[in-house]
Subunit: 248 residues, 2 copies
DNA sequence: AGACGATAGTCGTCTGACGAGTGAGATTAT
DNA sequence: ATAATCTCACTCGTCAGACGACTATCGTCT
C-alpha cells in the first residue's frame, strides 16, 4: 500500500474496488476474502479494512453478512446514477457517447437577483457566466450555463484551464474541497433562444437540471442550469432504503 | 443503549442523529462531542462510535476533520432527495402536502413481455397490476402503476394490507429485505388514457419515473411506472463527489 | 432420507495504545 | 503594544489482539 496524502482507509477502498472489478478477489459465489485476509494482503490493520468496506457498502458495491462474509452486491451493475456527481463529459464517455462542445460564451457581469440568491452571495456580486452547447456528431443535445462568482474563479484562471467542464476544473483544484451538489429536476418547455440553440421547436419539452455546488465548508461555488434534449441521455438514480424509515 | 436485534453501530448512529437534531450535542461552533466522549455517553466502544459516525458522514449529516473534531454538516439540511427511497405518501407528508388516493384498480393477469423482462421473471408469469391516481384536494397530480409477481404478493394479502403504498407494504414485511430501487427519469407526453385520468390535454409533458425494486439478495419484487404532473412535486437529488473521480 | 448437533470460519464489538494533525494560549522578539 | 513563534492539550486516524455472535457445512443419528 502506498500511503500518506489520502486517508489510508480511502486508499484501501479504492484498492479493494479494483480487486472486485478485475475479478481478482471475487470467488465463485461472489464472496470476497475475509477482513483478516484483506488486512494481510493490503498490509493495513483490520480496523482500516472495516472502514474501507463500510464505504463500499454504503455505495452499494458490497454486502456484508454477519457470520457469513462479504459479498459483491448482486447483479444490478448499479454504479453511477445521478447521485454520483460527475461531469457530463465523464458521464457521456461512460455510456460510449462521443461529445463535442461549441465555442463557449463567457462573460463577466453582476449577478442577477436569482443568481446571487442561489449562490448565497450579496446582490450585485460579480460573476462569470459560462454558456455552451454540447453536441454528439452534429446534433445538439444539451445546453449548459454555469454561474461562478469571480472570487472563486477569475477570468484568466478560467481561460487557462477550462476544458469544457467547470466541475472537472474545480475537482483539479486543491484549494476547493467539493462536497456535493443539490440538483433539482424539472421539465421545461424550450424558450425561443434555447430552442434555436438546440434546433428544436419552441415549446418542446426539455429536461432541466438546476444545481448548486457545495464545498465541504458549506460555501456555494457554482450555480448551473442544464437543458437536455430527451432521448439522448437517460437519467437514473439509485434510491436506497433509508436508515430512518425502516419498519418496526 | 438498548441492544440486540439491530447492529449496535446502527443504533448508535440513530442515537447520535437524535442528539444532533435536538441540538443537545451540538456546541456553538457546530462541533459534536469527541468520539471518546460519545463512546462514554452511549456506553459503546469507540470503534462502534466510529462506525456509526462513518454512516452519518456518508449520509452527509456530519463532517470529520482529522485533529479538529466532528462537525454537523453546514447549513443545507439536505437529507431526503430522490436518492432516499420513501413512498410518495411519506414524501408528500414531508413537504406538507395532503394527498388522497382514488379507488385502486387491481387486476391479476399474466405479465406483458416488457414487464416480465423488467421483473426478470419467466414470460407469462402471473402478476398483480395495481393502478391508482393520487389527488391533492380535487386535483389529480400523479398516476401510479405497480406490477408485482403473485409469488411475491398474493391477492388476499394485498386486499388485507394495502393502504395506498406498495413500498410501505413491503417495508412492513419481515420476510422481504428491501435494498434499493433503480429508477429512471423520463419525460413522457400524456397518452389519451393517462391524460383523461390526470385531466390534462393529450400530449402534455409529464415526469415519468420507471423503477425496479430490489431486495438484498438481488431479486426484483416490483416494477412500477409513475407519472407526475409537473409543478406539484419538485424532484431533487443530492449528487456526491465520488471516491473514484477525485483529482490526482 | 431427513433431522440434528458439532465445528470452523467470518463479521461485530471491545480494550488499550500510539501517531498525526489542529487550534488556542503562552512565550518571545520586534 | 503588536506580531511571529512555540508549546501543548485535544481529537481523529490507525494499529494490535481478543472474544462473542452468527452462519454454513458436514458428519452423525434416528
Amino acid at each position: 500500500m502506498v500511503r500518506r496524502t489520502l486517508p489510508l482507509a480511502r486508499q484501501a477502498a479504492q484498492e479493494i474496488l479494483k480487486g472486485i472489478e478485475s475479478g481478482k478477489w471475487v470467488r465463485a459465489n461472489g464472496a470476497l476474502p475475509s477482513e483478516a485476509a484483506l488486512s494481510q494482503q493490503l498490509a493495513v490493520s483490520r480496523a482500516t479494512i472495516r472502514d474501507a468496506l463500510a464505504q463500499l457498502e454504503q455505495r452499494g458495491v458490497i454486502t456484508r453478512r454477519h457470520g457469513a462474509g462479504t459479498f459483491v452486491a448482486p447483479l444490478p451493475r448499479l454504479d453511477a446514477g445521478l447521485e454520483e456527481l460527475v461531469s457530463l463529459e465523464t458521464l457521456a464517455r461512460r455510456i460510449g457517447l462521443q461529445t463535442r462542445m461549441s465555442q463557449p460564451h463567457i462573460e463577466e457581469r453582476v449577478a442577477a437577483p436569482i443568481e446571487s440568491e442561489r449562490l448565497r452571495t450579496a446582490p450585485q456580486t460579480r460573476v462569470l457566466a459560462i454558456a455552451r452547447v454540447i453536441f454528439t456528431g452534429t446534433r445538439p443535445i444539451a445546453y449548459l450555463v454555469d454561474i461562478v462568482p469571480t472570487t472563486v474563479l477569475a477570468r484568466p484562471d478560467l481561460d487557462k484551464n477550462f476544458r469544457g467542464s467547470v466541475l472537472d476544473l474545480f475537482l483539479s483544484r486543491r484549494d476547493l474541497a467539493l462536497s456535493h451538489s443539490y440538483t433539482e429536476i424539472h421539465i421545461e418547455l424550450a424558450s425561443a433562444p434555447i430552442a434555436r440553440k438546440l434546433r428544436l421547436k419552441r415549446g418542446a419539452p426539455l429536461h432541466q437540471l438546476v444545481a448548486q455546488l457545495f464545498t465541504r465548508d458549506g460555501r456555494i461555488v457554482d450555480y448551473s442550469q442544464s437543458f437536455f434534449v430527451p432521448g439522448y441521455f437517460s437519467f437514473h438514480v439509485i434510491r436506497r432504503v433509508g436508515a430512518t424509515n425502516r419498519a418496526p
